[in-house]
Symmetry: D2
Subunit: 424 residues, 4 copies
Amino acid sequence: MKKRVFTRPPMGWNSYDNYDTNVNEEQVLANARVMKEKLAQYGWEYVVVDIQWYAANTGSQRPEVQYIPFGQSNLDEYSRFWPDETKFPSSAGGKGFKPLADQLHAMGLKFGIHIMRGIPRQAAHEHRKVLGTDLTADLIADPASICRWNPDMYGVKNTAAGQAYYDSILRLYADWGVDYIKCDDICNTNMWPDGWHGADEMVMLRKAADKVERDIVISLSPGPALVEHSWHYAVNANLWRITDDLWDDWKLVKDMFTRCEKWQDHVRMGNYPDCDMLPLGHIGEVFGNGRESNLTEDEQKAMMTLWSLFRSPLMIGADLTRLDAQTLKLLTNRAVLDMNLEGQTPRQLERDDSHAVWLSEGEGQCFAALFNLSDDVQELTLPLDDIGSSFREAHELWTRRTSLIGDSLQTTVPPHGVAVFQLK
Amino acid sequence: MKKRVFTRPPMGWNSYDNYDTNVNEEQVLANARVMKEKLAQYGWEYVVVDIQWYAANTGSQRPEVQYIPFGQSNLDEYSRFWPDETKFPSSAGGKGFKPLADQLHAMGLKFGIHIMRGIPRQAAHEHRKVLGTDLTADLIADPASICRWNPDMYGVKNTAAGQAYYDSILRLYADWGVDYIKCDDICNTNMWPDGWHGADEMVMLRKAADKVERDIVISLSPGPALVEHSWHYAVNANLWRITDDLWDDWKLVKDMFTRCEKWQDHVRMGNYPDCDMLPLGHIGEVFGNGRESNLTEDEQKAMMTLWSLFRSPLMIGADLTRLDAQTLKLLTNRAVLDMNLEGQTPRQLERDDSHAVWLSEGEGQCFAALFNLSDDVQELTLPLDDIGSSFREAHELWTRRTSLIGDSLQTTVPPHGVAVFQLK
Amino acid sequence: MKKRVFTRPPMGWNSYDNYDTNVNEEQVLANARVMKEKLAQYGWEYVVVDIQWYAANTGSQRPEVQYIPFGQSNLDEYSRFWPDETKFPSSAGGKGFKPLADQLHAMGLKFGIHIMRGIPRQAAHEHRKVLGTDLTADLIADPASICRWNPDMYGVKNTAAGQAYYDSILRLYADWGVDYIKCDDICNTNMWPDGWHGADEMVMLRKAADKVERDIVISLSPGPALVEHSWHYAVNANLWRITDDLWDDWKLVKDMFTRCEKWQDHVRMGNYPDCDMLPLGHIGEVFGNGRESNLTEDEQKAMMTLWSLFRSPLMIGADLTRLDAQTLKLLTNRAVLDMNLEGQTPRQLERDDSHAVWLSEGEGQCFAALFNLSDDVQELTLPLDDIGSSFREAHELWTRRTSLIGDSLQTTVPPHGVAVFQLK
Amino acid sequence: MKKRVFTRPPMGWNSYDNYDTNVNEEQVLANARVMKEKLAQYGWEYVVVDIQWYAANTGSQRPEVQYIPFGQSNLDEYSRFWPDETKFPSSAGGKGFKPLADQLHAMGLKFGIHIMRGIPRQAAHEHRKVLGTDLTADLIADPASICRWNPDMYGVKNTAAGQAYYDSILRLYADWGVDYIKCDDICNTNMWPDGWHGADEMVMLRKAADKVERDIVISLSPGPALVEHSWHYAVNANLWRITDDLWDDWKLVKDMFTRCEKWQDHVRMGNYPDCDMLPLGHIGEVFGNGRESNLTEDEQKAMMTLWSLFRSPLMIGADLTRLDAQTLKLLTNRAVLDMNLEGQTPRQLERDDSHAVWLSEGEGQCFAALFNLSDDVQELTLPLDDIGSSFREAHELWTRRTSLIGDSLQTTVPPHGVAVFQLK
């Protein structure tokens, strides 16, 4: 048995950037409706409920703590989280996320959830049962394996009973109709000096996913993933974060170029190093910091271009119910999005502190992107030596202008901006 | 207010090396009786109950785990551990350790206990009260502050309510009649890369100790203490471990010479860098590995000499009820023990891989020790240049032989052994 | 301009493993003759003269030092090393390595040399000239940029005059007819904490190579290369060492599996992560440790299989004038060598401490290797799930036996050995 | 034999802060005359010539490099530097520094020089002789042991011939009449990851100093010294730098409090952890950055107080020929300077980010200093609990005002300033 392969990096929406720990069913559906209406035709399809959907009083101890420790979450007898019913009324009566998943599927969309590595601390302290084994949660939890930034879980020991726990949750999620799992505190367990404390649980999670019929994307967070372990990620997951949390700050976007440089050879069908969610549109509301994205339009285009060309997963952070025209345009540039289709391979040709050049090559298609990483307007030139001399025309995907290529092609790029060409 | 000063490093017995997590009242008293009868006249006085006196089923999951996680311990409503009554019957009826302390005091001895940094995990998960504050345990515990090797506690936040918790336990221990606290997981919090996660709690513990009338020795474990923070230890504690756990293995004893070299300038009245317990006599019984100490008699003499000269605390690990004649002799060499008296200052004169020379200077007294760290018999020479030329006689403390000092004094020292002279 | 691309990893012989710092012209030619006669038809073609061909008294201070410091080497007025004439008589009269290269080319072979990063210390201290610039060697050398293990050079500053020096040596080597440069102390400059002190000189070296007409392979040593800088190696070199020096010790061969795992995604046409020379046959003579390789025949087969499948460069360490029948057979298994042909892509399917499975996929060809990394005989099974179910036959390349594949294919593999199948 | 012991930390003047690599005889004598006239009566006595007195063209490649590499220095046949005669005319005719030392001694002053760890690179490359051994410089120099920031030397191997070299230079310096050697690149060899590459040469230097009759202070640079090796410094040197280069920047002065905290227990008679030179008065001239010290008068008082109380060596950086009245007053406060006399012991009582309290205790004398480390005026209070209650009066040493001590003593301290009291 081996991991599922998805031929294209997932595209969708994630609740975190705007709703923090507090998103509810009504909000999820409102965002989904916008996606269906305006975005789905361009390939956007996943709707992902992020962290702490299993707890009622999330957010009530802000600003002291983001995640309330030692609280009562909604747990079943088998040590598994269930959706909090005040947030997700349709889950009442033991239905879990199935009704919500059904609604999304009926809209032609897919449904994703966030989970944390491990088993709930509450289950361990209460010695709850684990489905498929006689051992109780206290005997499969590792009391020293915790997450640095979230207090909900203990890591699970790499034993048959530990595997049974992972099997039990994957089976539940498959039954609910989950299409996408964002598993957190596993890609880089930054509590521990080497960041590599989640390796066994990656395997347990993948083995559990192998056992269910449903195709579920396995996405690992947080980053930065450890490049020396690239094979382990590739064998056990579909996506893995190559960066810390990305927010709407040019410095973070610029830094992604060093990370993409490092990971480019690992992008291939089924393996998608992940540049993190797109902090576009209206975000930060429930963090107490609601705003339109601080990235300029040029920075947003540079980000969309790099993410698409690099074949990163694309997850929108915006509150879609407040989607403005400019952001909508950004998310629906079909030519830009096409760079992430099957068959394309990203490759960096040049990079220094002030610019980067990337190529996306595929059968019959070639794209070249000139990024201006500096704070000044720059003339940038296509390195035809590296690209090949057979191209005659260059069609810029954001301006939709076409130029002839002679001995070279120069173009003026604004600060933090991009020019991306389809070459013919 | 400032920390209590003790004029001599504590001498006593500790339950750990023989009884692991399982010592009980009868065993403590049996050992104490031997101490009173045979050792007390030489300065031995503390009787210390080591880890997990608050839990009943300790040891029952061996060999998988030493410390059972997520169990029920004996806790009061104020989140404080109390002695387990099956182990310590005299504590029944809410008396805590007072009856045991009273018995020991009546024998002319002193009473010590082991504690872990922080507040019980159980108290945090159960939201128990904290004496002297309206906040409950979940609000003063830090969910990410755990011990790597023991699952009992969460660290306490450095807040007024956190201080209240430390105040509440010190007051309880003072009421019980505790004379000595060995606080663990605080000197080097080896969970964290920098080992320095316990700094604030050292201050909270010391401030709590300042507030009680009783003179309580504050001893910090485990080691190695971080020499760059020597001042912080000195201000907040009486003793601090400069080493990992020491067992009956010559390599560990030999390694202590590098640690004593490093810490020697920090030994002064009231400040006692701690070389850890003496693994002498019969030890390891409850670990399932009962044995007479694997150290040879020469190695034991070298250890006793270094510990005494360096003014380390002296804590016997042996089961005193099985005390043999050779060990008894080792522990009752008054001249050797006198090197740790007030006024003496240890100083290393020479060290390489095969030998070390130490001096203990005080008003009117001078001792010099020649350690053979090699595996072969060696002739070692007193470096009179460094000691001063006024001495005429050298009295060896283990053989009780006296030699005249001419231009030099040479002596034959067995492998791993010592010759230690009182100079006159 | 961009780096030359070689469609197949180089195969050849290197003087180091047997001749240390002391190889001479006669020995080089004697080995080349064996290559021409017995190996060339299988693709072996490069003959590489390793370190210190420019110094006369090499080896004369052994065993104290391998490389004699502060000596007089054969330098021209432009700060460039020339072959020592006592070792390479044909170089006399200012002819350099041209006569030797000509002879090798006449035999249908190619010629390589070893160089060290930087400019000779001697040139810097003597303020010698640098071709193509007014600055002298003392002004382009960086006095703090040295090699940890060899005393011959100073690093070159990243300036126009520094580039002129690299240009001047590449032009000289091209004039001589050099086809392959093994540049040392540049891939991992292990003197410096981060190992990354040679980055600028990699670029200078590549730019200098771009400027000459001749196709010269650029090979970087020593390893381990730093995987987070994979892009920089790929842009500036053809080969780069992914390992420390490899010798005839199974532990080192086994460790290569972890390195190949890490680097597999970076193997592509023109980019050849390098597993180092093959310590086969008679080696170590001039090191004072002459011997037949300590690797068993099974270990040698495992090594040859991994290196070929992984598309590592293949450089024989043996004294070819003493080539035995078994080694010859090992080096002339055409089917094994074919795995490194253009179009093949290596991929690890499984690895743990006791076994590894690798695939080499190409258009129309598929190979699968089952490595037994343990010390016991093992039954290993082809993971057909990962390989695809269309294959019917498996032809083992060392035994030349063919098996039918049913639902699975199991095979017995000796300790440290391999079974490698061409699948049809 | 053991190291010389000096009962008080040295006080004097050093050429570096104002004259960089270029100081000459005339300037040295001009500064010395001011010292004799205005400062000597307060204990100032050492006159130290800092780096590169052996080279003629120093400073001529600024600003590209501070230290010119690969140049010709003034070397004798035995690989030893001699003063450059253009800078030091009195050294002509093979007299070396003797005439200058004689002049300083005649003024009642003492003479110091700066040296670098090791043997000149030039001597190694030229295979010069070494006095007292048949081996030449190339055979005792370690080609991989260099200084990161200065290109003059190679480290010396720890062999008999290496010791002969150190013996030969110490004998020469003793013959010249040198009283103080500042040996650089030895206390923290920051080229190497662990900073501890100079350990053997510390021992060789000390052994060489033991062999000469003359009392020569051995001072080690640069810092920060490694506190875990405190014993090694104490055995082999009289002073050792606990800090990187200190300049006239409050951040650096404030940072010294963390360093003094760490090293306080190591201050004792003969052992003087060194806070580096005092960047007071007119400095930076030859660096091309001549200025009056950027430290405010309050910051200067805080610095003088900490250095004196801590018993740091005191070396003036100012151009004494331009000595202004305020700086003169600062350097001649006898009561402040008395804190560094024999018998005083420094001890930190309190420190946080905004203040520090230090005590200097001796027989019959007690000083207490309240430092305001914050940017605002503060009321600071003497912690009488820690000091003892027997004092009745406090005499402030900078304002010369006396206060009565009641239950407490509060005082207003300006930002970055100090109040330092003699208690009676």
